[in-house]
């Protein structure tokens, strides 16, 4: 039995058949239930966990159709348009789904109809029924009003005027109903009967291409999965070739026998379609995941889908069979590193038009080809400015965030510090050059942002640092702060 807190009292949120048989009802106070049956087992409700469970079930339902939507707190919509024949018809699909859920230990009620509204009602009021197209009218006629997914207020007010079944309002005059109970009522009715189109929005985007393989005997070795990826990729290659495309993002779905679904995604910095390459990328990803992928009792369905594709310009090899290679080895290398260590593992510095040092050369992920292209487009224009800024003396290493340093005093307000404390060590400044004043970008930070005065300093041991003072002495009440921004060679 599961309890939840409502209006400062613990109430029963959900219960099993045994508890139901003992005349306990949802909404009953926990104290009351305990007084009736002292031996009941009560667990605090955890909506987050319920949500996670529902999402993992939705993941699992991906094996039937890619269009799975979560409905409310305990429902799933599966759009099986065009999928039923893969499982031997609607009836067989429904039976298969029910059986699999039953073996996983779930008590599931399912309904199948040609409109989402009718399916919703069928699942709740006629478990396991398949409503044939056109049969919605007869089906709805004998159902109570709650089959229409109405809010409780509308339902109560309808019942108070004696309208208790859907049949009662189905043929009634529509205008007065709308006027009195709102447009939602008629909308729901029309949706249920199929007069109005209702879209089920899937929780995940549908992959343009996917290939899968079912196994009667589950796969339990990761090496087998890797080999299988190669085979699936070979099938995928044919489809990609037909579309003259290559895959940019690939996803591998592993459906475990006990209902657990693992999603493994890899990205490629340029479109790929070679099975060996795809297999290599998944090999890196699987190695990186290592222990987190638990094969358990094995996988009975493996699906490889191309989440996003892009035009693939096929290059012709020369007579010796060697394809002209322009940085392809590097791109594959970057993809493999990215697959194993994440998006930000391979970075590329990109110059930008800014005089703030941290903005002038930012690093972006190598995988983001769009970024690179955008920068390359501006490249012609910036070439001049970079050579200009290339003449400025800049440190060879820059800290991601300037590190605050402790400067007890300066000799003159505009001068460099005679010594400073950085990372708990005191550095005595022997020589300094500067200041170089860098004003903040007013179009970003506003007029009030303090300026920075940069100094190149050398300490007694010969280490060269780039310090700056944020603000000016005497300009504001608090003393300006000092930062160490980079180190020179």
């Amino acid at each position: 039995m599961i309890s939840h807190r409502e209006n400062n009292t613990q109430r029963i949120a959900a219960l099993d058949e045994q508890a139901e048989a003992r005349r306990l009802r949802p909404g009953m106070g926990i104290a009351e239930a305990r007084a009736m049956h002292p031996d009941i087992d009560i667990v605090e409700a955890d909506p987050e966990a319920d949500r996670r469970l529902l999402e993992s079930l939705a993941d699992w339902c991906d094996r039937y159709t890619p269009l799975v939507a979560i409905e409310g707190e305990s429902g799933l919509f599966l759009d099986i348009t065009g999928c039923a024949h893969l499982f031997g018809g609607e009836k067989a699909l429904l039976a298969d789904l029910m059986a699999r859920f039953f073996h996983q230990g779930f008590d599931v009620r399912a309904g199948l109809a040609s409109t989402p509204g009718a399916a919703w009602a069928a699942a709740r009021f006629a478990a396991g029924q398949i409503i044939a197209p056109g049969g919605e009218r007869n089906f709805f006629a004998r159902l109570p009003l709650s089959a229409l997914r109405l809010d409780p207020k509308t339902k109560t007010s309808l019942e108070s005027v004696g309208l208790r079944t859907v049949g009662a309002i189905m043929d009634g005059p529509r205008a007065p109903l709308v006027r009195r109970f709102g447009a939602t009522l008629i909308e729901r009715l029309d949706q249920g009967l199929g007069r109005l189109e209702e879209a089920v929005s899937p929780r995940l985007p549908v992959a343009p291409l996917s290939v899968e393989r079912h196994f009667a005997d589950p796969l339990s070795l990761i090496e087998d999965v890797e080999r299988l990826v190669g085979l699936l990729a070979a099938t995928l290659k044919v489809d990609l070739e037909r579309r003259e495309e290559g895959a940019r993002r690939l996803e591998l779905l592993l459906f475990r026998v006990d209902g657990m679904v693992s999603r493994i995604t890899v990205g490629a910095s340029r479109p790929i379609r070679e099975p060996a390459l795809i297999r290599k990328l998944f090999h890196e990803r699987l190695t990186a995941l290592g222990e987190t992928i638990d094969a358990g009792c094995g996988f009975d369905l493996v699906r490889l889908s191309a989440l996003s594709t892009a035009g693939f310009d096929a290059r012709q090899g020369d007579l010796a069979g060697e394809v002209e290679d322009d940085g392809e080895g590097l791109a594959i290398f970057a993809d493999r590193v990215t697959a194993r260590l994440g998006e930000v593992a391979v970075l590329e510095p990109v110059p930008a038009e800014s005089h703030l040092p941290e903005r002038a050369a930012t690093v972006v992920s190598y995988a983001q080809e769009e970024n690179r292209k955008a920068f390359a487009k501006a490249g012609k224009a910036r070439r001049g400015t970079v050579s200009q800024s290339g003449r400025l003396e800049r440190p060879i290493r820059l800290f991601r965030l300037p590190e605050p340093i402790d400067v007890p005093l300066t000799e003159v307000p505009d001068g460099p510090p005679p010594h400073f404390r950085w990372r708990r060590a005191v550095h005595r400044v022997t020589r300094a050059e500067g200041p170089e004043r860098i004003a903040p970008e007013w179009w970003r930070e506003g007029n009030e942002a303090p300026t920075r005065d940069y100094y190149r300093v050398e300490d007694a041991d010969g280490r060269r640092y780039w310090l700056y003072r944020q603000g000016l002495y005497g300009a504001q009440a608090a003393a300006p702060r000092w930062f160490l921004h980079g180190v020179f060679a």
Binding site: V337, R340, E348, A361, L392, I396, E433, D461, R464, A489
Partner: protein, 330 residues
């Protein structure tokens, strides 16, 4: 003299033996006659890379002589920084070498691999400064950030065989467990096979046995003054300088050099003249024979004796060393 000749013979025999085990033949490299080093230095060369551009001359005469002709190009080279805060000096030396390598190749790409830890502690390579000093344009640099040292080594091994990369820098901090003789040997072999250098940049690490043939220890050096038409500009900070010590090399000659990088010509040069003002503390103590030096401020006080002095000018019991005490029989 005779003993050193015998020792040299033994070393020669051992080197022959090692060369036989490794399957490469030793080769005699004759140094210029005016050098102070012994006339013949043995350098083992791999059969693969015995072409003319096997060594990278640094351009510093004395350093090249001591290294036996230059840095091996197709090899793992270790560059040590003594402390993390000296990361600028060690990275500077590595970049000097990289810059010398890519000077001849216009489209050369360089990969800089580092752990997240070292990039946080010592800063990320900054494209603006690299272009200014070393002529390494932003589009020619790639940075790989690995969460762990083992990941960084994996990336380095993979990167060593990518043809597009001219040089690979691997930067690690301290002495990680994964970086042992085996790991460095693997990196070295990869570099040898590809014929391209892998620079292992190690910040605040203790020297330990590795497979790298050369280990350079970099520490910061004060920069010289800026040269202007009117002479050196007082109080200015000139081009980058670094103190390099040879920790290990096949030629087995020790040496310490202050190298200076010329950011315009992209060359290294040795700095011998100490144009930098030394610290002002007197190096030699004032002579005794002259008039009394100024009296020290304050008065001199003796420490109070901790125990009663022993009679007859003998040291007290506590001051008696343990081994001089009368030995107890039985």
């Amino acid at each position: 003299m005779a003993t050193s000749a015998v020792a040299r013979d033994v070393v020669f025999a051992l080197r022959q033996k090692i060369a036989k085990i490794e399957g490469t033949l030793p080769e005699l490299l004759v140094l210029p006659s005016d050098s102070t080093a012994p006339s013949g230095i043995l350098v083992r060369r791999n059969g693969l890379a015995s072409s003319r551009d096997f060594l990278l001359p640094t351009g510093v005469e004395r350093l090249d002589e001591t290294l036996g002709g230059g840095l091996p190009k197709a090899a793992l080279t270790e560059i040590h920084g003594t402390q993390t805060r000296n990361a600028g000096a060690a990275a500077g030396l590595a970049l000097c070498l990289v810059s010398l390598m890519i000077k001849a190749k216009p489209g050369a790409l360089v990969l800089w691999i580092g752990t997240a830890e070292i990039f946080r502690e010592a800063g990320l390579p900054y494209a603006g400064g690299l272009e200014w000093l070393f002529g390494l344009a932003p589009e020619r640099l790639l940075i790989a950030e690995a969460p762990k040292p083992t990941d960084a080594l994996w990336i380095a091994e993979e990167a060593a065989r990518i043809d597009e990369l001219t040089a690979v820098i691997v930067e690690l901090r301290g002495n990680p467990r994964g970086l042992d003789l085996t790991a460095t040997r693997r990196l070295h072999r990869r570099a040898q096979e590809a014929g391209r250098p892998v620079l292992l940049l190690r910040q605040s690490a203790e020297p330990e046995p590795t497979a790298a043939p050369v280990r350079l220890i970099a520490s910061p050096a004060p920069a010289s003054l800026r040269r202007t038409l009117a002479g050196p500009l007082a109080g200015s900070i000139g081009p980058p300088a670094v103190t390099v010590e040879i920790g290990k090399s096949r030629a087995a000659l020790a040496g310490k050099f202050i190298l200076e990088w010329n950011p315009n010509a992209h060359t290294l040069a040795e700095r011998r003249d100490e144009s930098v003002p030394e610290n002002r503390v007197a190096v030699v103590s004032p002579s005794r024979g002259r008039a009394d030096p100024a009296a020290a401020a304050g008065t001199v006080l003796a420490f109070r004796p901790t125990s009663e002095p022993a009679p007859g000018d003998q040291p007290s019991r506590e001051q008696h060393p343990a081994h001089r005490r009368p030995r107890r029989a039985g």
